[in-house]
Amino acid sequence: MMNISPPRPPGEPEPESGPAVRAEQLTVVRGPRTVLRGLGFTVPRGRITGLLGPSGCGKSTLMRAIVGTQAKVTGTLEVLDRPAGDALLRSRIGYVTQAPSVYSDLTVRQNLEYFAAILDPGRAAAARRHEKVTRAIADVDLTSHADALAGNLSGGQRSRVSLAVALLGTPELLVLDEPTVGLDPVLRRDLWALFHSIAAERGATLLVSSHVMDEAERCHRLLLMREGEILAQGTPDALRTRTGTETVEEAFLHLVDEAAAKTAAGKEAVR
């Protein structure tokens, strides 16, 4: 499957060469608000890391910081051993925004052909591009809709076109912002199967955000966020064991209560 095309840069993939993402004291300010406050975490290579937390907790901002489209980022943020936003990272990261970002007045195939031409330009690469486009369309199960206008597709289909664009460049890191929101259960299951096969077969790292806690069980590792801070990180099992709970949702609630109690106690101590 992998490595037919194109040749990977030498010395890569190296799963052992440190985490895919490493953050220390990561802070992001948007307008008057500090959206992320001194985050420290790692995302291991070749695994699926779930970024979970309620809406508005800063998940999307964190993802933008990682892909390098967020301004006012302070602290340390290393992505694939380079500082986030480095121009050399642009073709190594696939990013899918929450709203499907594709051209609604182009067909599925034309959308992918354009983005493929940006990632791998030149006449010489035309055959390789064609193959990649066809594979990406098949990956997201849209082969039968390849010649439909993106604007005429359903919301879920459109977000899959958006995902297919991210799969084009055979990226080492895929950052997916709520990719399964609003999809039916069957499609959600299929997409998660696809994510797992991408991680297993291509050795890619996936960072997937969601505000639905039951998706947490499908991840190798979790980052739980709340109000711009990391509440906890670890495997789903470890989180459940640590909090003595049955599900990740309960674990999350437990951690929220714990944090609230700690803050309250802190205030008490100050008095």
Binding site: R90, D105, L106
Partner: protein, 257 residues
């Protein structure tokens, strides 16, 4: 490229990425035949209308017709580009493209190339109709008219791209047309010679690019040769287009605030 691996080539301007962008923009247009028809047909209909409005005074038709041949592409391209780039900004595709190894210059040049092509077709049809069928009396070469029209189209593309940065919605983008284009239309010498205006307005018109576009058209109308004034006019319009394109590039931010 210096390495054998397909390393991202993030140069300022890449020929294949620019043409890929132009092809994409044209493909988008092709799925919208009504827009194409409107862009191509309206200038012709307007000229036809104008010809018979000035049925009794063909000299007036010559002057206004030639000026309009320069103004149509500017207005059409301004509208089309401002809406198209606004869509690109609001749909998230711009953010996605800028997270890819695409230079801002590639994107802008791609748009300019695509809409420039449409402008050539539009201007060629309008000029051909005016000169051969409506009896527009041009002393100079119709090719020079076409050249100015193309430069005007580029200027329109540039202005549209630039103002789209300041529009939060399509409603606002459309309102920029009267704000940016109408004052130039009033001051460009179409309605009354610029020298007959209030001195303050004349001075203002001296720094507006459309004045030079209309001047250039009138030079072709009256002189058989390419005059020095014509060359100056063409250079001013081209220079303005490039300047505004540069400003437009500065408004494409890789990082959101």
């Amino acid at each position: 490229m210096t390495t054998t691996t397909p390393q991202p080539n993030v140069s300022a301007l890449s020929f294949s990425r620019t043409t890929a962008t132009a092809v994409r923009v044209l493909r988008q247009l092709r799925h919208d035949p009504r827009t194409i028809a409107l862009m191509i047909v309206i200038p012709c209909v307007m000229l036809l209308l104008l010809r018979y409005v000035f049925d009794g005074s063909p000299r007036t038709f010559d002057a206004i017709g030639a000026s309009l041949l320069g103004i149509f592409p500017l207005i059409t391209m301004f509208l089309v580009t401002s809406i198209a780039t606004l869509r690109e900004r609001t749909s998230g595709t711009l953010e996605r493209l800028l997270a890819m190894p695409l230079g801002k210059a590639d994107l802008i040049a791609g748009y300019a190339l695509a809409f420039g092509t449409v402008a050539v077709v539009q201007s060629a049809l309008a000029t051909g109709l005016a000169v051969w069928f409506l009896g527009l009396d041009v002393t100079g070469s119709p090719w020079l008219l076409l050249l100015v029209a193309l430069l005007d189209a580029l200027l329109g593309t540039a202005l549209g791209l630039f103002v789209s940065a300041f529009a939060a919605s399509e409603f606002q983008a459309v309102q920029f047309m009267p704000a940016v284009i109408f004052p130039q239309l009033l001051l460009c010498g179409l309605f009354t010679p610029r020298s007959a205006m209030h001195p303050v307005l004349e001075a203002v018109s001296d720094v507006l690019p459309m004045s030079y576009a209309v001047d250039g058209m009138n030079e072709v109308l009256r002189h058989t040769d390419m005059t020095a004034t014509f060359v100056r006019d063409a250079l001013v319009v081209a220079g303005c287009a490039l300047l505004v394109l540069g400003l437009g590039a500065a408004t494409l931010r890789r990082r959101s605030q």
